[in-house]
Symmetry: C2
Subunit: 360 residues, 2 copies
């Protein structure tokens, strides 16, 4: 069979991972309204932006969303053109391998010759057209040659909140895809610094492209218990709760990508950010001459380097500096810029205090 | 006539000055809900606390409240037992002399032999029983000897936000009342320091006791235009708007007390505070081991010297220090502790921006 023909026969599918609980964005995000549903940048939710960004590559009818069972209705409202039976609700979060395997098995039953693009639902990509070009290239490579394709972000600083991908010496397909040597989990500071300096590492963006059948074969080989569970799940969706209590909770990176041969990374200079903390969001907002930034209505008097994020209340500042402030009608958070990771301590305090009013 | 008999014949009246607009407490206070109606300390409004504090001396039936015309209904709701015709609504704020003269003239028409106690509606007095004893003494002195009695707070620091009263050398009535040498307007820092060190100065609390007739005579003598206006006003209350546009806006201190003979100060160690700013309120709140204080629901994580004042929203802090935060459902203010006087700058910005939603 000629390659052009094979290409034309493979259908392309999008799988959006939207299971995040977004506690690092409390009080803006709530248990029932996590980050992927927030309008942090622009006027669309993170989830909508994720879906719309690749509209020229894959349509709604070929889209799956994997989310928490409690969020299925919210996803449906947010993406009304995605077929409801393609919104998969997990009864419990089990990391990415089960989510991706479930979507892959579901797609495989529709078209065994499909390729899929996996995207987290809550990341920012500032250079959308460059990303779309890259996604198209990754899907094309998967269609043409098979293999697993990841998107490696050229690191701008020694971030300790991300995983890293080390490239191998050899390039593949005219250097648009490099062989992956290994995946590195979130590193300590010194290690991150060394990796960034070496020029051989990328940030792991959590986005992938591959053939559906190839992924399922890899699951069968490296995570056989998961493969069994997922087959059972698609055959008997009413057993989801039981099955999810038994399958292994493991990431696709750790469970598959680190073990599979033919894993490639596409260097991606696409203005990517996982917006994992208020600090990350603060970096994305435009600033005035005093380095103040606002998402929502804010008044700054004699203040500098202040970030105000509000989904309603007016937030005003007099004579303060170096602060993040997040305001909603019923809860306000005031945060030191270097404590952006510690929002969960407040969430923990609320949980321990049995305060559901401010969490839900 | 024997003095005891004369005493028994004089009725005692309370005059509460409740005209403040309380912009320094925005966003907690609003134009339609100024400081005297707030519950800043304890569970009663400042106005209610002022009225209740002297319940053992003077009852509701003998109480006048002078307020802005827009606040008359609010005062009525707050003090339902004060006769409605004794709540005087000023069409425009003209400082204290007109307010006090209006109340005095109104009382004089009911009882020309009355004495009156004048109290601002929005001050805190922590040692209430000591204050009541002192007020009783001031009223008794006025009944017995005539004269104007002020309450001088022993200064604890060189406050530049208050006026001061200088005592004269000579004492009156067993040193419970000292002759006043002069009144001093809000001083610059160095002057305030000298005054506090000298031991001869008190803070002017704005509270007074005197015979109603004697006050009206003094108004006649020192502020004849005001005397004329007030007589006209009590005769023709429907002309209030016109009259208030013509009478002089002047304080009782400046207009009367500085000129009258027989002005005395009673040293008052009563835990007084005019709570004029968030800084003053912050000083009154109990603090935890990290010097954090909350009025309302707050969570402090790794934070110190933070004051949170909320009339609803949960306010949470992570890793910050030296802040005042004031939160309401629709507006949040974050303030440096040394900028407590500058809240009005935000209010000004709102006014200039035509933002009535957050002011009213």
């Amino acid at each position: 069979m000629e390659k052009g023909l094979e290409l034309a026969l493979m259908s392309r599918w999008l799988v959006i991972l939207a299971g995040g609980r977004g506690e690092r964005f409390w009080p803006l995000s709530r248990i029932m309204h996590p980050k992927q549903f927030l309008t942090l940048i622009g006027d669309k939710s993170m989830l909508e932006s994720t879906r719309d960004r690749v509209a020229s590559l894959i349509d709604d009818a070929h889209t799956f969303v994997v989310t928490g069972v409690d969020y299925v209705d919210k996803v449906s409202l947010n993406l009304p053109h995605v077929p409801p039976d393609q919104i998969l609700g997990e009864p419990r979060g089990c990391n990415t391998a089960p989510s991706i395997a479930w979507a892959a098995e579901s797609i495989f039953r529709r078209d065994s010759e499909a390729v899929m693009l996996v995207l987290p639902s809550d990341h920012v990509i500032q250079h959308a057209s460059r990303f779309v070009e890259l996604a198209h290239r990754a899907l094309t490579l998967a269609e043409r040659y098979g293999g697993f394709y990841t998107f490696g972000i050229v690191p701008t600083h020694p971030e300790t909140g991300y995983g890293y991908i080390e490239r191998d010496g050899s390039a593949f397909d005219d250097a648009t895809a490099l062989e992956v040597k290994r995946f590195v989990e979130k590193p300590p500071r010194e290690v991150a610094e060394e990796m960034v300096q070496s020029g051989r590492y990328f940030w792991n963006s959590g986005m992938f492209a591959f053939r559906v059948g190839e992924l399922l074969n890899a699951v069968q080989e490296y995570l056989p218990m998961l493969a069994e569970g997922i087959t059972d799940l698609v055959d008997n969706p009413q057993r989801a709760r039981d099955i999810f209590s038994e399958i292994p909770a493991i990431s696709i990176d750790h469970g598959i990508m680190e073990k599979a041969p033919a894993v490639y990374v596409l260097p991606a200079d696409i203005g990517w950010d996982d917006v994992g903390t208020f600090g990350a969001l603060a970096r994305l907002l435009p600033r005035d001459g005093e380095q103040n930034a606002a998402h929502g209505y804010a008044i700054f008097v004699e203040s500098e380097n202040v970030t105000a994020i509000s989904d309603g209340p007016l937030v005003s500042f007099v004579g303060v500096k170096d602060l993040y402030v997040v305001a909603t009608q019923d809860a306000v958070l005031i945060l030191s810029p270097d404590k952006s990771q510690d929002v969960r301590k407040v969430v923990e305090a609320l949980k321990q205090g049995g305060n559901h009013e401010h969490l839900l």
